[in-house]
């Protein structure tokens, strides 16, 4: 009796498998690892094809043998006891040797690929330092001398050598379309390199953190723009410059004389400083000379545009969006850059905006003690917060207001007045109002 039913069930299984194939075929796979877009992925895909072929052969063989056996040797009523066997040395040796031979077929290209992909990168490669933070990516271009975050530009056709470190827990750096992953570990420097094909100029790829790193592990993404070498140079040249509106670099007499004094200012400025107005915003520098290449937003396919919805429920962040149109970048600049506001607007105690918070002609904080993404050319990026939000005014405003609600576990504190701050387990009674936030957003979006 169970036989009939099981047949019906197995045909249902086949139907479902068919439905699965059909459903899956209608979809696009923008993060597929089966690409030949880099030398690295070409090697891996070659290995994969062999693994898949041999694996399929073994699978088909074993499962066929199994099904054949259970059908052929199923019990028949009244049949005598089967012929008894206890073992067979020849057979045992055969099914030891054949798998071993199959494994040799895998081992040889594997070892070859290990040594090829883990060789030293060529000296002419472009160097990128990747630094993992909870939960965003810092990218430094030491050959060009600038730092950016969450969005990576690579010149197509040139080998890029990533040097990987972490400032906190273990992360893992992965762009599925371009190559394998490599863990990003504190107290340890890892490398991974690949060469994006020169035909890739003008494409964008998703990147992910693939080592569980805490609350917002899922929110630690990044984007890779492959661009033409000329566009890359234009972009890099611009990224090196100081931020828009930043004071002209000169000895700044008004600023505290030593970094130590500046830190004192920082720690003293916990309450809103009344004499803020006494130090007017420094003269605004002209916009940087070059406009610099930016990957056009219009060329980003939908799967690269973040879709993280606004938080809901008790994490909802309300913001009066009508204020955004009236946001004033200059006022925002004053709020962010005047050390007197540090208590309520502590942006630059963690972020760097090159040219701001200068002490004796030097940046008060450096890349090595900055705890948050470098914002110097923030407005050239299309995403923020670990690549999970598009850099639109509505998103940015809510982020500034209550980052902790916008991204679980976010180490950026809640700044909006009256907002609940999960890390402090209480509602803020001071902080920014919506109008000030609109100004800050306007300023951030002026950081071209």
């Amino acid at each position: 009796m169970p036989r009939k039913r099981s047949r019906r069930l197995s045909s249902a299984l086949i139907l479902m498998a068919g439905a699965l194939v059909v459903a899956a075929c209608g979809e696009k796979y923008p993060n597929s690892t089966f690409t030949h877009l880099t030398d690295f992925n070409t090697i891996i895909d070659g290995l994969w094809n062999r693994l898949l072929l041999l694996g399929t052969i073994v699978f088909v063989f074993v499962e066929t043998l199994l099904i054949f056996t259970i059908i052929k040797f199923r019990r028949r009523e009244g049949a005598p006891d089967p012929k008894q066997t206890h073992g067979n040395t020849t057979l045992e040796i055969t099914w030891t040797i054949i798998p071993a031979l199959i494994l040799v077929l895998i081992a040889v290209p594997t070892v070859d690929a290990i040594w090829k992909t883990e060789a030293k990168a060529s000296d002419s490669s472009i160097q990128v330092q990747v630094i993992g933070h909870q939960w965003w990516w810092e990218f430094r271009y030491p050959q060009y001398g600038f730092t950016t975050a969450n969005e990576l530009y690579l010149p197509a056709g040139r080998t890029v050598n990533f040097q990987l470190n972490s400032r906190d827990v273990i992360h893992s750096f992965w762009t599925p379309q371009l190559g394998g992953k490599r863990d990003v570990i504190a107290n340890r420097t890892n490398y991974i390199w690949y060469t994006p094909d020169s035909s890739l100029a003008g494409s964008v790829f998703n990147g992910f953190c693939t080592e569980y790193c805490g609350s917002s592990h899922a929110n630690m993404r990044f984007h890779v723009y492959a661009v033409s070498p000329a566009d890359f140079d234009s972009w890099a040249a611009h990224q090196k410059e100081n931020a828009a509106m930043s004071p002209i670099v000169a000895p700044a007499p008004a600023a505290p004389a030593t970094p130590a004094a500046a830190v004192k200012v920082a720690s003293a400025a916990t309450k809103p400083a009344a004499p803020a107005a006494t130090k007017p915003a420094a003269p605004v520098a002209a916009m940087p000379a070059s406009e610099g290449y930016v990957f056009p937003l219009a060329k980003m396919p939908p799967h690269t545009l973040p879709q993280t919805p606004f938080p809901v429920g008790d994490r909802e962040v309300k913001f009066d969006e009508s204020l955004l149109a009236g946001g004033d970048a200059a006022r925002g600049h004053e709020l962010v850059s005047n050390m007197a506001h540090m208590g309520d607007v502590p942006c630059l105690t963690c972020h760097i905006i090159k040219g701001e918070y200068m002490v004796a002609g030097k940046q008060m904080f450096t890349d090595d003690n900055a705890k948050a993404p470098n914002l110097t050319h923030f407005a050239t990026r299309h995403t923020f917060a670990g690549g999970i939000y598009p850099a639109t005014p509505a998103m940015l405003a809510r982020w500034v207001k209550n980052a902790e609600h916008m991204k679980p576990g976010s180490l950026m504190t809640t700044l909006g007045n009256g907002e609940y701050a999960p890390s402090m387990k209480s509602k803020r009674t001071t902080g920014l109002d919506d109008r000030q936030i609109a100004d800050i957003v306007a300023y951030l979006l002026s950081l071209k």
Partner: protein
């Protein structure tokens, strides 16, 4: 013979008799019920996980709760479900299979169980207060150190695993001694049933692997509570220390989870094929090989950490090597069925299901063994697919098979074959529906352990199918639960030799009497009961009787089917006294660890009072235990 209704299995009844029991069969049953409970709890956790991931950007649970759920799903399934389910079989079966009246240390056995159930509760309860462990079942430092996980979550995990480790180690010493020392005359090592053999290998893995994680956890505990620097990045610690220690334990752990299922299958297949196991020696040696090689492959979990080409090469090759003994087992199982008279009972279906599904997990395992290819696979859903084919398709299928097979021996009644067939096909289909699409979502770029994802990444359909499969999997487990509970009352009554099997446990009544064997049998071959009933099946294997001295020494008699239902007292067999001391000792041990938690709530005095008080209670109980007679 089947006319005798299943009698109450034990001479004593009542809750107190269960709390104080030292009978290996009752402890086995307790393990079984408790572990099935945790299995369902872990399954529900998986259900919430899949609900959250069914569609992109959902808000079923928060990121924080999701991370607790996937951590606890892994921890529960490994330490609180599959390992104890195996332990249920170790307890129930090993003494019966080797012809012993109990395990070597019955009270230690009760202690292991109570430590497990209290430790499991200790780790599971916090999920209801949103403070469950949230560092992953692998608990990678430095994420689990105080600077990055300041809550009590990780404390529950560290303490919980430490407690469970004590349970596993105590049980392992017990079973090693039992298997080495309590075998009936003539039960030579190479005549032991394969389940006992695989269990024997597992006990060695436990004994050698658990101390390593104990130390890794001690370091973490010291870091969190006493300010040491083992995983402190600022002090120059190497974050890979944890990973090496963890995986030196963690890989053998995989074999700890799978080998008992292999053993169960090796009992089921011959019985329902009416043929002895094909290549017994090879199956046993390959089990030993797997256990041995299992200690030399740990770093294949770490191909992405940048160990360097030499280490990657070595671990790739050792990993590939371990595929050979595993493959050999599969071929021997198929050869066992070849030429047989296969009876498709529910147990047999699950055993065949294991072969079919484990093969898939084995093949994807070989795919990870190639480090460059693994760099695209590790930490993606491809790996999730792989180890669920190994642990669900392997361990769980084998254990379900074992439950259907041994249920009549445990309870004296058969489980319903109709419901069993439904259960099998639902599980088989749902399992593939859940886990097969994960191969695709992984290779198409979906990372593991993410609580949310954007639409249009190429993962939507696969995730939806996986989630539907999980729903079906929960339903099919419900069929099992109904069957399990219903059959207890109304199942068909089973005789001692419920299935026509060949090993010693089937020579005694179902359920077995307290003393197991009224007379200790002496064994002359691998299938003593077949010698008796189907001598033609065992004519091809070696027979020899143990020497007369040994037989006299053990007061052994030839193998025979025991039918009687006399009490131990009537037969003059001394039975161990019931005692509550193991439970008290276990409770004291758990309280001793639990007390430390108060240190993180800044109640140092409370912490020390509880910890030192419980420690004293533990030592006192231990003395009382050791100075009171066993029987």
């Amino acid at each position: 013979m089947a006319t005798t209704a299943a009698t109450p299995s034990y001479e004593q009844t009542g809750i107190w008799s269960w709390i104080t029991t030292v009978d290996h069969k009752r402890i086995g049953a307790l393990y079984l019920y408790t572990a099935l409970f945790f299995f369902m709890f872990g399954g529900l956790e998986a259900g919430v996980i899949r609900w959250q991931l069914a569609q992109p950007n959902q808000h079923i649970v928060s990121a924080e709760l999701y991370n607790q759920l996937f951590t606890m799903h892994g921890t529960t399934m490994i330490f609180l479900a599959v390992m104890p389910l195996s332990a249920a079989f170790f307890n129930f079966l090993i003494p019966l299979q080797i012809g012993a009246r109990d395990v070597a240390f019955p009270r230690l056995n009760a202690f292991s169980y109570w430590v497990y159930v209290l430790g499991g509760t200790f780790m599971t309860l916090p999920i209801f207060f949103n403070t469950a462990p949230n560092g992953g079942w692998f608990g990678y430092a430095p994420l689990t150190t105080l600077p990055f996980s300041s809550g009590l979550n990780i404390d529950f995990w560290v303490m919980g695993l430490q407690i469970l480790g004590i349970s596993s180690l105590a049980a392992a010493f017990n079973f090693i001694t039992t298997i080495i020392n309590m075998r009936a005359p003539g039960m030579t090592l190479m005549r032991m049933p394969v389940f006992t053999w695989m269990s024997f290998v597992v006990q060695f893995l436990l004994v050698l692997a658990f101390p390593v994680i104990t130390i890794a956890l001690v370091f973490l505990l010291f870091d969190r509570f006493f300010g040491t620097n083992f995983y402190e990045i600022a002090a120059g610690a190497d974050p890979l220390l944890w990973q090496h220690l963890f995986w030196v334990f963690g890989h053998p752990e995989v074999y700890i989870l799978i080998l008992p299922a292999f053993g169960l299958v090796s009992e089921i297949l011959p019985t329902f094929s009416r043929k002895p196991l094909f290549g017994y020696n090879v199956v046993v040696y390959s089990g030993i090989m797997i256990g041995f090689l299992g200690f030399g492959v740990w770093a294949h979990h770490m191909f992405a950490v940048g160990m360097g080409a030499t280490a990657d090469t070595i671990f790739a090759l050792t990993t590939m090597l371990i595929g050979i003994p595993t493959g050999v087992k599969i071929f021997n199982w198929i050869a066992t069925m070849w030429g047989g008279q296969i009876r498709f009972t529910a147990a047999m279906k699950f055993a065949i299901g294991l072969i079919a599904l484990f093969t898939i997990g084995g093949i994807s395992g070989v795919m990870h063994s190639s480090p460059p290819a693994d760099l695209q696979q590790t930490d993606t859903y491809f790996v999730v697919a792989h180890f669920h084919y190994v642990l669900f398709g392997g361990s769980i299928m084998g254990i379900f098979g074992g439950i259907y097979f041994y249920y009549p021996k445990i309870t004296g009644r058969y489980m319903s074959e109709v419901l069993g067939t439904w259960h099998f096909w639902c599980t088989f289909i749902a399992m593939n529906l859940t886990f097969f699409p994960m191969h695709f979502s992984g290779m198409l770029g979906m990372p593991r352990r993410i609580y949310t994802y954007d639409a249009g990444q190429g993962w939507d359909t696969f995730n939806l199918i996986s989630s539907i499969g999980t729903g079906l999997l929960i339903l099919s487990t419900l069929i099992f639960v109904v069957n399990f509970l219903k059959s207890r009352k109304s199942g068909e009554v089973a005789p001692g030799d419920a299935w026509g099997a060949g090993t010693l446990e089937w020579t005694i009544p179902s359920p077995p009497p307290d003393y197991n064997f009224a007379e200790i049998p002496f064994v002359t071959s691998r299938y003593p009961l077949w010698d008796l009933k189907h001598p033609e099946r065992t004519s091809g294997i070696a027979h020899s009787a143990p020497d007369v001295m040994t037989i006299t020494d053990a007061h052994a008699t030839p193998v025979h089917e025991e039918m009687g239902h006399k009490t131990a007292a009537e037969l003059g067999i001394p039975m161990p006294f019931n005692t509550v001391k193991p439970l008290i000792a276990a409770a004291a041990l758990v309280a001793m660890f639990g007390g430390l938690l108060f240190m993180h709530t800044n109640q140092f005095a409370v912490a020390m009072t509880i910890t030192i008080g419980s420690a004293s209670l533990f030592v006192g109980t231990l003395y009382a235990w050791l100075t009171s007679p066993l029987e």
